[in-house]
Symmetry: D2
Subunit: 498 residues, 4 copies
Amino acid sequence: MSEYIGHLINGEIHNDDANVQTVFNPATGKPCAQVGMASPETVAQAISAAKAAYPSWRNTPPAARAQVMYRYKALLEQNQDTICELISREHGKVLSDAKGELARGIENVEFACGIPELLKGEHSRNVGRNIDAWSEFQPLGVVAGITPFNFPAMVPLWMWPSAIMCGNTFILKPSERDPASVLYIAQLAEEAGLPAGVLNVVNGGVDVVNQLINDDSVEAISFVGSTPVAEAIYQKASEKGKRCQALGGAKNHAVVMPDADLDNVTNALMGAAFGSCGQRCMAISVAVAVGDQVADALVSKLKPRIEALKVGPGSNNDNDMGPLITLDQKQKITHFVDEAVAQGADIITDGRTKVVPGYEDGFFFGGTLFDNVTPDMTIYQQEVFGPVLVVVRVNTLEQAVELINKHEYGNGTCIFTRDGEAGRYFSDQVMVGMVGINVPLPVPVSYHSFGGWKRSLFGDLHAYGPDSVRFYTRRKAITQRWPSGDVKDGTLFSFPSL
Amino acid sequence: MSEYIGHLINGEIHNDDANVQTVFNPATGKPCAQVGMASPETVAQAISAAKAAYPSWRNTPPAARAQVMYRYKALLEQNQDTICELISREHGKVLSDAKGELARGIENVEFACGIPELLKGEHSRNVGRNIDAWSEFQPLGVVAGITPFNFPAMVPLWMWPSAIMCGNTFILKPSERDPASVLYIAQLAEEAGLPAGVLNVVNGGVDVVNQLINDDSVEAISFVGSTPVAEAIYQKASEKGKRCQALGGAKNHAVVMPDADLDNVTNALMGAAFGSCGQRCMAISVAVAVGDQVADALVSKLKPRIEALKVGPGSNNDNDMGPLITLDQKQKITHFVDEAVAQGADIITDGRTKVVPGYEDGFFFGGTLFDNVTPDMTIYQQEVFGPVLVVVRVNTLEQAVELINKHEYGNGTCIFTRDGEAGRYFSDQVMVGMVGINVPLPVPVSYHSFGGWKRSLFGDLHAYGPDSVRFYTRRKAITQRWPSGDVKDGTLFSFPSL
Amino acid sequence: MSEYIGHLINGEIHNDDANVQTVFNPATGKPCAQVGMASPETVAQAISAAKAAYPSWRNTPPAARAQVMYRYKALLEQNQDTICELISREHGKVLSDAKGELARGIENVEFACGIPELLKGEHSRNVGRNIDAWSEFQPLGVVAGITPFNFPAMVPLWMWPSAIMCGNTFILKPSERDPASVLYIAQLAEEAGLPAGVLNVVNGGVDVVNQLINDDSVEAISFVGSTPVAEAIYQKASEKGKRCQALGGAKNHAVVMPDADLDNVTNALMGAAFGSCGQRCMAISVAVAVGDQVADALVSKLKPRIEALKVGPGSNNDNDMGPLITLDQKQKITHFVDEAVAQGADIITDGRTKVVPGYEDGFFFGGTLFDNVTPDMTIYQQEVFGPVLVVVRVNTLEQAVELINKHEYGNGTCIFTRDGEAGRYFSDQVMVGMVGINVPLPVPVSYHSFGGWKRSLFGDLHAYGPDSVRFYTRRKAITQRWPSGDVKDGTLFSFPSL
Amino acid sequence: MSEYIGHLINGEIHNDDANVQTVFNPATGKPCAQVGMASPETVAQAISAAKAAYPSWRNTPPAARAQVMYRYKALLEQNQDTICELISREHGKVLSDAKGELARGIENVEFACGIPELLKGEHSRNVGRNIDAWSEFQPLGVVAGITPFNFPAMVPLWMWPSAIMCGNTFILKPSERDPASVLYIAQLAEEAGLPAGVLNVVNGGVDVVNQLINDDSVEAISFVGSTPVAEAIYQKASEKGKRCQALGGAKNHAVVMPDADLDNVTNALMGAAFGSCGQRCMAISVAVAVGDQVADALVSKLKPRIEALKVGPGSNNDNDMGPLITLDQKQKITHFVDEAVAQGADIITDGRTKVVPGYEDGFFFGGTLFDNVTPDMTIYQQEVFGPVLVVVRVNTLEQAVELINKHEYGNGTCIFTRDGEAGRYFSDQVMVGMVGINVPLPVPVSYHSFGGWKRSLFGDLHAYGPDSVRFYTRRKAITQRWPSGDVKDGTLFSFPSL
């Protein structure tokens, strides 16, 4: 063994190897790297570097800051193969899926290029006679992001391009499960011309998170992960008086209406439920069939497609689905499935015993489908975060909306229909932050913002897009009146002769 | 005794008189009313009423909701004398000052009239081929406001016009020190056509606050008050996973530059420091003189003006300054002044012994000025919230900005200068949310937003204005693609013959 | 005879009666008033008044200007019966329809109340180091509006509330056919507190129009009327180097898809085609049936409804339809119908011989329906502006869109369907400025803007709503850098000792 | 001889050499290329190419279109030396000045990268019950730009990046004096991936302009040049019913206040008056000295600096100033100077006889300064467009503003002062579109918009920045209601059993 993954502090790789943790290739189940777990001193160095870099970066005109982003976009595109291999190796997702992830990440870099437009404040002449007022959106200072394993490159790119373009300096604590790709792209930012200390990466676990939250120099926390952790982080950051946006878990329902084209729906659900092995906070995990006819037909179309899923290592683009991230996760999901069977759900396809030849130690799990799942079952209530799709049957669209609105999560949802009224009723009434009408994964484009409702997001402002600019800045309201010194009628003009 | 002040729940006055508290006229020191302290059942009724009123109000088109605001503005204007008498009677401020308060409150009603414009989301055609995306800003549900004694009518009007126009229903917990005026204006809203239950008022103390925070039906909390309470409320609300904006205390500095016209400055400071007896979160409590010449001249101009202040009951518009809100507050401020003297500050005018003939039991306190105050003194560090102005001396503008930036509060500040560069440097560098350039009380107009920095505000979004619309709504991102059923080329068209 | 209608100049009614023209009550065919036709001197007085009022009005803070609008809204509502009687008397439309007109007009007053928000410019800190830039939207000066007979109160309210709130002063030249209501509402604006000279009304014909265009003091022209006049005015105003927006005629198509509910469609078309006797620039005058089955069914449903239309004086709210505006117009429409019959269109209901008992001299015309109209027929190509609906048959939605896109006009259009894809395809591809999806008269609400495409509008910016604010203002771009005089480090500070 | 410069049509260089015109190197006075003057057939081909490319380009998602701009920015940067040599060779400006020009041009490409954000329309839920409305900003189709010699690369980049990103296709008619650089950068756009036909360049003179204006397929015209031509083009385009923005000439005044630092002012004026040989529409050509003391001191500081100006070929970066564009222009400016002397202006430095050794045939003209110029002199009234600065003396700022406001042009202006009140009064009251406060050339950054007032711009909307997006798009207002088919309560759901 093997590769060592360090931290990026003040523009240099910092090898803090007193404490390391193994990173696994989930397709082989074998270690592929060691990641340094930052000591308190290391974290403090990162914070110091970010603080030191702040004043100069804050005063750099936004249009000048943006030049870094333009070059960065080009570098990310030029190095996409390397980045995607790192993503796939540590996360397990299929290479083509990693490319999709990176592409969505780059869109956020594009959004951040537009920072001179996005930072515009509002100017009012004559709020009173000869009094003007305007707003400025000034940076916060040092801000931190904590990101999950499931999109190791994209979620960091949701955060820091916007944060840094707003004039802040940034510390990222990525997932220790798959830290290589994000360290690589952070270094590319330096190569693009980002001054040292503006972007720092520290690897580690909960101790690092707590230190970032507790340090008074860190002004704001952005988090993406599971709901229990999101909630805890929101509480802790708020206790420290900090602004925080904490994105949590999901249970995304797709409503299938009787007028939907079921072949299209089946295609859409296959990708939305099983892509990236279901490890997406926008994955569809519940199909809500409106009417038994729809349900029966849908299940019969899904079954052979799930059975035919090609499961194997992500390095092979022919595969549809790679492994889960860890053995723990595989066991947890196995338990969810066992419990669902015990609670009376009809198991249609069973992924528990999936073995991939040549990759017997990989953390694979086959595509799993349940029918006749009911709201009282654990598998309905909890976020599984694996390749498990459940079908719930209702009789009307209103019942479907009620069902969704009662769930504790409200991240994403989707309706399949051709009917304008159904789409409008659904999008209006459903208590979910991101709604697709015939779009199974309604992840907003980078110039809109990403965020769930209910227990899927804690905070006021959503991630990336316009909301992120507001999150990463403080509003300053300036009111100005110049006292009359009669300057304009010339009586002042004797003074230069003094 | 005397008048009883109840709650407004579901459009009716609710007399929950099991537990009452006395409201005093601070000019006489005598009780003037009894306010009901809501029982848990009463608060629960208010929450129920707000919940019941929500679905219909949410679905009322914004332009229809706005009709209530237009009528409400007219009613507030027509009843301004009554409202101002209630304010002055319970708060003590001079009637003309109460009128100013109400006028600023009405501006927020005007802003809220524009809700159809303010609620516009962003629409993007072709985020992908034939895929559209847009954002909607939907209401939260039931939201609550907790407001302070010092602007009994204005601060509630910062909150609920915007909250309600966004489609929410509202519960207000005003200060129990001066609850009459706000109950009156809430009833005017009903008269203006607001449906019952959309706006509710419950009187009470900390128990009511806690119940509002802890009830799962209350989606968001807006608070204005002192920093310790603001912080506690922010923490508690966040612990419950709620969005919260909590505005706290202040220590507002006015920087006086050598090129400023000191007569103008003196005029400005007299109003900004002693208006409303200093009980404003935007009051100037520190004058930062740049250079000893400025300081000496300023103090010599302020002294006779402070000595000439007319102190007396607010019901007499000839007075400059009314009483403090409570006897406790008077004692607290006396203690601050005692301590400052003990710590070595030079007392120039001393308001501790002020007695108003005929109002010997009133809570009056005379205008007080200190010179040579230093940052280590308690009177500099803490918010006094009384008619006490201190002069701190520095040598340069940079020192002035450093001084301000080191203070824990960052609500408002002001610079007096004629120099463009000084104004720009100050407004750029000062870590304060609301900045005046020759404007001593830079309270933003209603179509900008109000908020401090540092420990003067907890949360991301400021009060009233554009930020309040974002605070009182949830962003919903909708992505839409209509499946091709070949509808446009006519093959669909056989189906009606079925 | 009878009432005399003068001009409003500098806050006073100006009776310039050297030259008058008769105003008719179209229901009786009898004169009901005399309108003064302004002499060149009178027009010059109006321009002078507007010029004189400008500097002070321009410098009045927008929030103060808005106070007039709030009062104005209330006055319009209080006097709606009077206004609607004047509209109906001179225009002929049914009272309930006049109320609808006024209501839409008042919405524009509401929009204009929000002017402090709407006038906000964009502020950028640090476009270069220590350089700031912002935009202001300043008024133009004196601007003029020329409005048509068909909405005598509403169209003026599209223009001047926005123009005046932007800080301009205004001269209105309304239609000489029905000038009473607009003069009345202009006087109400004075009653609401508008300073004299800010809003002026001059009655007259083409000479007045030309004088307004040719006078160098008039900075911009807004026009609504027929396309030939709109085009001529746009050319003349542009020749004078002025900005101009000139809204012209229309031929609005409604596409009826096979999946539409034909009862709903029939209801919608009855109002959209025959309301206000078809004298609306947003009236539907062409029904495009997709498929013969749709066409046959639609015609058979429309026929009895048209035959049952209650035609009579607008003063009776039981009537569905009043008279045309003039005898000339009646003869012109009769000719259109004659020609269509001659060109081979199938006449289904014939309104040519409609006589209303008791109102034999009124300018009534019955509801008229043609089937099998083709694009080469005059009745298809030209704007009829009367109660005539024609059915054109096509086979597919694509053909319907092509048909519409080939017409010279592009004001409004509508599709009736339940299908999301059809609605999206139509709204995306159709070359028309205002599109309804199941909304037969898609007049945008006041906070969106009104305008057609192709030969229905000349100019860049649409009427009312956000575009009107841009039209009635000039952008000023300010770039500011304060020279360093070392003011911030104190070296300046020796100068007060001079 | 020599190089031939053709047209770019449908992605290919089109050598239409029936008619050519000589391009001169103004430093040597010798021909350096031949430019093809497009025949009517050639222009028609360009229009056809643009029409053919439109439908596909219009339907390409804005975010996909933007990818071309990102690559284009990189290509322009990589090829800046080549571009600047072409600019300098044909225009004569010093290379470093050409680099400045290109840099400002590239900023417009950056702005255009943000098109997904800039094209957002406004969405309103519930404008009525269950009725939604939104706006879309759709492209116009084929649009044309006509650009001047003085910024051969920058002004085209003001236009087409924005026009094309909005979804239009474009035809550029650049100046025939210096056509090489713009043809080169247009080809780079193709290299960046722009589809053939989206951007076309046709060289020629007034005939080409007229053909573009008269062709019905060209939807809009953007022009930058002299005021007489701008006015004529605005009139002609408007006569054809087209939208047009036509930017014309200037006479930009710099007001020098008594409190200004005259060394700074002198530095600023040297660049602003003599840079690019005064051939900039934002050049300062009038210095307005407030008070004789200021005037005397300013003239005495300027005189030696002007005498020391290094005049010579632009290819040498040591030079301050290159030649004028043509011999004609040199003779015209000589005549202006002769006339000013004759009319009584005091000539301080005289550039008429400037000869550059080794470049005796070059079109050089020395820096020229007049004092005591008065508003009645020709040299004050007309745009000279050469290295001639005149000093006008006034007594007060108010007089300075009146002077500027009386001039027929209103493009740019500037004030030099330290005083906040003076800056605010000036920027508020001056009737000029672009105002600098201590910024001598207040060309707005690309994310604000460029435009003068009065006879410096014909049209409503300014060039580049936000206004350009509005100019290059049509607003479409969509109002949508889905008819209730009871889809949401399930009664629809029997139909799949058919």
